[in-house]
Symmetry: D3
Subunit: 250 residues, 6 copies
């Protein structure tokens, strides 16, 4: 029985293998070609997809499109206010790293030939942060991206029958806390985790990105395996929520 193998209850009442409540509000932003306000518990990210014709100079004439992403946090998305990166005059290492991760993740399920010489920029702005902002960003950005692709098809900017999206993609965090592997860590758990892993997975269950870090003691092969199991299960749920909100499962 479930409750026997995992009799642990978390501070927010979840079992170790349970996601936080996930909400995706499609089209929250009226101006973008695609947008989604995604919530993983108290984490709230506004994802917008901006479609423009043409590609950066270094891609011109290649017949392929470009998908990229920028991640940022409002100064008071966290419990104490952070200085704006625009005020500091430079973007921090963490911000760069997450922006690059989101971009790579979405490019993994895009057929850039099918997209044609068009660019889609995914902006993921964290309005409220409670752990998992990068995984929420990837999961929400996919929905915004899908809507931008649909919009472009309707406008005749990409071919009618072009399969621009080759799959869905989502991401979830997993970690080991007090020796127990757990899914979808809020801030309080993330801060205590011995090992922290972000796993980006396609709808078909293959890996796009595996980023595991021992925050405290290094982890062994068995722990790695159980974290990957949890992450695959969590992402399967997210994929189902994405398909649902996009109306893809009739």
């Amino acid at each position: 029985m479930e409750t026997m193998t995992n009799p642990i209850t978390r501070a927010d009442g979840r079992t170790p293998e349970q996601l936080r409540p996930i909400t995706i509000t499609r089209g929250w932003s009226a101006q973008a070609e695609g947008s989604a306000l995604i919530e993983f518990g108290n984490t709230r990210v506004l994802c917008t997809a901006s479609f423009t014709e043409g590609v950066p100079r270094w891609l011109k004439g290649e017949g392929t499109g470009w998908v990229t992403s920028e991640y940022a946090m409002l100064p008071r998305a966290t419990n104490t206010r952070n200085t704006r990166e625009a005020v500091k005059g430079k973007i921090g290492g963490r911000t760069h790293e997450i922006s690059r991760l989101i971009g790579r993740s979405l490019r993994s399920i895009i057929d850039t030939k099918a997209l044609g010489e068009n660019t889609i920029v995914l902006d993921c702005d964290v309005l409220q942060a409670d752990g998992g902002t990068r995984t929420a960003s990837i999961t929400g950005a996919f929905v915004a991206l899908a809507d931008a692709v649909t919009w472009a098809r309707e406008q005749g900017l990409v071919k009618k029958n072009a399969e621009v999206l080759t799959d869905t993609v989502s991401a979830i965090s997993v970690g080991i806390i007090d020796g127990v592997p757990m899914l979808d860590l809020p801030y309080v758990e993330d801060a205590r985790a011995e090992t922290d892993m972000n796993v980006v997975v396609t709808g078909s269950g293959t890996f796009v990105e595996v980023q595991g870090t021992a925050e405290g003691a290094p982890f062994d092969r068995d722990e790695l395996n159980s974290l990957l199991d949890l992450a695959l299960a969590g992402n399967a749920e997210l994929a189902s929520i994405q398909r649902n909100v996009l109306g893809w499962d009739k």
Copy 2:
């Protein structure tokens, strides 16, 4: 009769002296000491107030507090995507100007002695822009500020009976379009206005800031007067909405 003097109807169906639908959602952000999501029609600004003990070095030992503000726009708050200022590595002139205006406006109704040696930072982040983002920011930031002051009083960080807020404050834009003075301009009207004016007014109806600019032909004294009339009436409505949402009018 009203309809005789102003038989004009605007693109969005309003009369020249009518505000757009105004919505203020108090406490939208769970982490800030005060917050408000304010909407002037399609313009949406998230205002948060961050309260911290202590003041900047140049104010230490003066026994007075400090209130300041930062304004920013998400890259896709507008119809086409703008480069993030953090990416450019510097903050533009317009952003600076609006941040300073919001800060001055709020300081006008704060008794900094009563605030004590504490700092409140108002962040106004435009999630969606359709004209009037600076006036919505001032109006929403007041609500966030009021809640932060209440929070501080409850925490014993400011004295129980200190009258930190000396009045309410709000702001509205007015402009002359095709010779007709109009209230609360959305983007399409703002772009066409011959004269554009932002007027910041206290709840008692006195002026905090008057910023009028001839975008096209210079304007005369009569035009200035009718714009001021409109702005005073609009701000009176906003003050009433603020008091209402704060529960100040029993």
Copy 3:
């Protein structure tokens, strides 16, 4: 009688409605297409106009010209030395705001069609600051601009009979000190003013820009009206000095 309504004498011996001594030295700089060293009392600003053929990329092919401005202060223009903005690596909010104001003010009296696809940059560098640096800048920049236009006409870069300048433009500060509206505030008065207003006016007496700020208590409609009266009278004097120094009054 004048002396009965305003028996007040200011620290520098002026009556409330009197300008400081105004001096404009045309052609102070040998290299610029137009230049003026302007003095409002102890405030000294070097204004140069740089004329170049062509316009910024976003204006190309529109058949219209471009006028813009940059304002700056020498580090020791003030009583204590300020860090150079070049050393800080970024331009402050106040500098941006004033640069934009000067640019808007001068564009208000330029017929950009008549200017053709040419650019004029007005540099206003404050050599010595004693209040009113932005108003002196606008007033002096007009003279530099007028000379640059004349130079361009002589060079055949703008058409002989093109009316590039549609009017003159000048600016003056006004403020309320101890309840009395006063014209053209030096630093010591500016620092004490309850309300501070900069008013940009054309030679024909229409408003280009009205920027009033309550530094202390908000101001009422009557105070606003008397400040505007003072500003219009002051600007009329400045316009006359400009015409005189340019030799436009036979």
Copy 4:
């Protein structure tokens, strides 16, 4: 037999599970407290460890030390010259990401309590780049770090018997090329890899960091497993080379 399962020979003559020639020159730099010039084939990284007493402000009084790292490339470390980041005025996302990875990796085998309130900065400057610069950096930085700790012990700056290093740490890249998992990719292989993984492992064989990215098609669980097998074997060899160069084996 080995040669039957992997009859593949790589461009540089190695079998898929073979490391490039590894050279570590201890003490290459006379001035640093520890230093190593490490070579993974043609990749050459100069690693220096700078020991200073005291810790950053946010750690003061905690009784723990701090280890951090900065990674950079000389402009002509690569086949074509890159602009210096100092000239661009900002550090790129990739540089930040690698600096952070190196720092985390080394902190995983440091007992910061035993280090006391001291700081060690590891600078990893790539003099020549041919793939695997981040893994060479981690592996070489460990040697520099070990020498800096020895130096500090000799100086009496850390306690005689303090076990500052809890283990060794090294890193290696693995990737799938034409369906075959391969160890330690030089640039030409890295550019063709479908999946690319950097694995940081302690001398005891536990994981510190696992970063796998699908550059082309997402990868499945089996591929992930065979990459991890290769990486563990490669890191075991590196650990042995490190111990050898440090004279830690008998």
Copy 5:
């Protein structure tokens, strides 16, 4: 006879060994502790000396003062407008180099012990540039410095009888044009010079700085010698002008 060995007349009518007209206006700036507007022909530099008590952190408690300098050019000091360094966000190499040269030159004649723990910053802002801006800056900055020292002595900030200035200092450019060594080059000559040299000399005729650069062909020992002769004679004249304007020659 002079005219036989040097029958050459320069474009501006000078003989090779003649200075341009030199003008020094002491106290041009009312606010600074010392100031001088210096003119070398059409080159005009405003030099101000800002005296502040205290020294930078790294000098505290040493009992010695600090003298430093910043050099800059107004954007339209030259024939075509240059972008402001504040707008570019960084200071160019030439500006840095000249600022450092001016600082070193003035420190050579300052007894920093006698100055006490005080700082003097010399700002040299080029209002109009026609060659020799760095030599004019040094020569003018000395006058501003001397007045700031006098001011400080009068204020009791440095000891009455402290010999803060150990000598005077001035600078002049020399160059070889069409094989002829010439003194004090304006822009048109400077651009044509095969060799260009800036020589900073004390009032006693000893060298503080010798900076010679072959712009075209390298120069030999004889040419170097005749340039040094010219520079010593020119600086002797400048020293006399400085003493005269300071009223040091009874």
Copy 6:
């Protein structure tokens, strides 16, 4: 006898007119078109020459090439670690000044017409610093430059018989310590020198650059002369080492 006039022995055992041991390792870097690791005693600089076809925009169509240089120091090239300029976000004055000096020095022996429309960038990265980093950079960069020119000739990128290099160039420091002129100062001597001079000389013994600075007391004409004598002799030795390592002497 030599030993009678200079019975002084320096800390490192040299006589005043002796160079430190000079080592030049040609082709240290595999990827650059030319490279040299140069050592002046403990000072070690990696010089690479990057050859690219084409010239900066402002030189296009002139038929001449461009040679430029960038100098930098690794953070731990010195006894205590310096902050990276990339981290500070700006390049310091000293770095700019040395980069410019190296570029000018190398351009003095390049026939840019013979080079054709090609660019060579010399990167001089100081791996270890012990005085004389700028003179070692110039001397080593010449070797890297010579090899890049040979490479370009072999590739047919410059004409077979074009005399791109008109001479060799090298540089050495000289200084006065305790009244004695000395050659090639290491850090400990440089810090004590009363006068410090860097002299760049061609293989034919003519001057390219003479930069003398009085660090302490100004220097007189005789001292200047003996420093120049020393520098010419030292550079003659360096030229011979350069020719030798390049295999230019029979």
